[in-house]
């Protein structure tokens, strides 16, 4: 492997160096060093920034800000993010979680990127050197992104409104068959007033289950009332096929697991 690593104290300086051809940003290394080890010759040099704000977690004023270098392990052990810990723990084993970063997960192709599925359900904003955009906009354009992600921000959800499920064949650590994150707001009588559902492995990157979200409005979480939402859960999906599962299998089991998540 012939890689040159440049380290900068600020994101601004690192971002300038990132514009050179063949240069990638080094976060935790679980994607980019892996690619280099695998023989990806498009990676010839790496840059990283050591700005402290990249590794900071802030929970205040009803908002959560995760620096792009924050690791899955740091999220999993943060006392105010216990509700989000299942999504952070869904990423890899203990060593990977000590390395894999929030910023990197936004770029992880399916079947990886389980944490980004949670961020999609949470309607996060992604801040980069060139501005802040909604996560859906960011995910749609991530392949052309040449600006270093600095943080993600989202509103702290109400207690028990966030749900996450990862389905894998090997326990406790395995690659995703699929992952689902849901943010459900409910009225006092239990009817759903807003729903936002993120899906992993149902496309090459996290996507929303918009038809199911719409069908859930006004429903209570009972088997009968969620049935119409489950019937349209597959709308718009284009699941991946890999050694873990075929696209057909993933599509078949998605409504089953969405139902289990909603009724849990």
């Amino acid at each position: 492997m012939a890689l040159a690593l440049q380290t900068f104290p600020t994101v601004k300086d690192a971002n300038a160096a990132l514009q050179a051809a063949g240069t990638r940003y080094l976060g935790g290394g679980t994607l980019v060093v892996r690619a280099a080890n695998q023989g990806d010759v498009s990676v010839s040099s790496l840059v990283r920034a050591t700005e402290p704000s990249l590794s900071a977690i802030t929970v205040s004023g009803g908002k959560v800000r995760l620096g792009a270098s924050v690791t899955m392990a740091a999220i999993a052990r943060h006392p105010e993010l216990a509700w989000l810990a299942p999504a952070a723990r869904a990423v890899g084993g203990p060593a990977i979680r000590n390395m894999a970063s929030v910023g990197g997960n936004l770029f992880a192709p399916a079947p990886y990127g389980d944490f980004a599925v949670a961020l999609l359900a949470l309607d996060a904003s992604v801040a980069a050197e060139d501005g802040e955009v909604p996560i859906e906009t960011f995910l749609a354009g991530r392949d052309a992104s040449r600006s270093i992600v600095t943080s993600v921000t989202f509103a702290l959800p109400r207690q028990e409104s966030f749900r996450f499920l990862k389905v894998s064949r090997i326990k406790p650590k395995g690659i995703s068959v699929l992952s689902i994150a849901a943010l459900l707001e409910r009225a006092d009588d239990g009817t759903i007033t807003s729903a936002r559902i993120g899906l992993g492995c149902m496309a090459d990157r996290p996507m929303r289950a918009r038809a199911a979200e719409k069908a859930l409005l006004g429903c209570r979480l009972t088997r009968g009332e969620i049935a119409p939402a489950l019937a349209v859960a597959n709308e718009g999906i284009a699941p991946i096929t890999d050694p873990v599962a075929s696209a057909w299998y993933r599509a078949e089991v998605l409504p089953v697991h969405l139902g289990r998540l909603l009724l849990a």
Partner: protein, 160 residues
């Protein structure tokens, strides 16, 4: 390729080397420093055979660039025995027949050490979780799990 300096503490000894920029910690340890206890298995972050402890945290040395470890304190399985006496985890792995081909063993022991340093009396579930990033193709895992539980019991008896 430009050479860059790296300096860290490895198993209690100061190490300083000039390496090619972009060298992984695994290659720096094995090829420059001569500590061959971390194994290069998949080089993809999947098998855990290259696991080492960096500043108290388990990391995969195959995906860690050595330059990012400047000033760090690194522990590998090669540094566990003291004065010719095996570490309790090493002893337990031998006693429980938790080693067959041995390739995964150093990574397993590092993962187990981090667990026992933080959770001296882990449950079986905690052991399974701690070892979940390490693959063994020989033992079927049960002897390894039993070895870690045995080392934990042995530690607690020694403390008592």
């Amino acid at each position: 390729m430009a050479k860059v300096p790296v300096q860290f503490t490895l198993n209690g000894s100061e190490k300083a080397e000039f390496i090619d920029s972009g060298t992984t910690l695994l290659h720096a340890l094995r090829d420059k420093i001569g500590d061959t206890s971390p194994k290069g298995g998949c080089h993809q972050g999947t098998c855990g055979a290259c696991s080492v402890i960096v500043d108290g945290e388990l990391r995969l040395s195959c995906l860690t660039l050595a330059e990012t470890c400047n000033g760090a304190v690194i522990r590998t399985t090669a540094g566990l025995a003291e004065g010719g006496v095996l570490h309790p985890l090493q002893r337990a792995f031998l006693d429980a027949f938790a080693t067959q081909c041995g390739f995964c063993t150093p990574g397993m022991i590092m993962a187990a050490k981090v667990l026992l340093d933080r959770t001296p009396s882990p449950s079986r579930e905690e052991v399974v979780e701690a070892l979940s990033g390490n693959i063994c193709r020989c033992t079927g895992y049960e002897p390894i799990i039993q070895a870690v539980l045995s080392a934990a019991r042995s530690n607690s008896q020694n403390v008592a």
